[in-house]
């Protein structure tokens, strides 16, 4: 019963700060976000923030970690629903695109601002990319073991997959009158599956660019 004693909303102040930071970081980027900005957005003060967090960097790190966790969780849950190796890979791709499509800000934080943070975070970013690449590699290795695709250098392939997905999402993020991200799924799926050596008949017909499917000119 006695939980949110302070007539505060359901969420604790700490979480309010996290939310505000998430939003601000993903809008303005790490460097261009002043702690005062976060304080303002969270309707608190700088001092209040520094009561809950030791440094600005710590806020960012926590955000990164939990966001990445959420995404990985979604992917793993989506993959668990499938048993056939190639279908699992497809589910993973779809889960990522769907998540980002629904949460543009999440994408921004993970794939743009992360990088926009600065030298200190190179390591952080690196670990994040590494993590996703390994995740993919795991699925690819599974597929190889199941005989769904020929054995090959799954390490490089997984890196390539991640890079490809990343770039497609990035492109979409920066195209301001962006179409639906989901539209990129069919061609991307085909390209990725093929790249890993999935038999042609399993991939299906080459998807053609339908008018309006491709991203519009990215603006000035």
């Amino acid at each position: 019963m006695a939980k949110t004693d302070t007539a505060e909303q359901s969420r604790s102040r700490r979480e309010r700060i996290l939310d505000a930071a998430f939003h601000t970081f993903s809008t303005k980027g790490y460097r261009d976000t002043a702690v005062d900005d976060i304080a303002g957005a969270a309707e608190t003060s700088k001092g209040g923030i520094y009561f809950h967090f030791p440094t600005k960097e710590a806020i960012f790190r926590e955000l990164m970690a939990t966001t990445a966790d959420k995404l990985v969780g979604k992917v793993e849950r989506a993959v668990a629903l499938e048993t056939e190796p190639v279908a699992r890979a497809e589910a993973a791709i779809r889960a990522v695109l769907a998540t980002f499509a629904g949460h543009r800000t999440m994408a921004r934080l993970l794939f743009l601002d992360t990088i926009g943070a600065g030298r200190v975070f190179q390591t952080e970013t690196n670990a994040l990319h590494e993590r996703f690449a390994r995740l993919i590699q795991g699925y690819l290795d599974e597929a190889v073991a199941a005989g769904a695709i020929p054995p090959h250098d799954t390490r490089i392939t997984s890196i390539a997959w991640f890079g490809a997905i990343n770039e497609v999402v990035g492109r979409w993020l920066l195209a301001d009158s962006a179409g639906k991200l989901e539209d990129a799924y069919p061609p991307l799926r085909a390209a990725l599956l093929r790249s890993a050596g999935v038999p042609e008949k399993r991939v299906g017909p080459m998807p053609m660019p339908q008018p309006g499917v491709e991203f519009p000119e990215t603006k000035r």
Copy 2:
């Protein structure tokens, strides 16, 4: 004869500054590079720099543009040597990897720091990626026209290619005891060609990860 009147070395002061900026930016990143740092490295003064350039940003932009030009030039020259469509694509991939392998700093500037700059440069970066994606798309469309690969959504495929290459290079850059970047070529080439629908017989056998070929663990 009367060229470098000031008993300066061959290069003009302006170029010295550019070189120093290039080096410093690609080592420390844009935000962490102070104009004074550049001045120090160029053996000149802040005032001297501001005589030649209006802003710090302008230096960076110029560097980006010329570096990108150089890379595009290399790719185009390499591609021009081939006539068969798939071979042209292969040449492009090889040229990029070879260039980066030889000039780690160039890679850093173009693909890491660019992004590490901040909001202002999002546009810049975007244009750069766009440019390379279009370059690739051109080659793919050529290949389609020549009947070397089936028609499909070359836009997404080109974005995926760029993303894949980018990520492989990025991974290599951040792996500190990195192996040779060229080792990534065979598997990457295979993955990319296949993803675009190049017939299996043209791609050749699946390259296996040879011991030492893959990138070593990226360090903590």
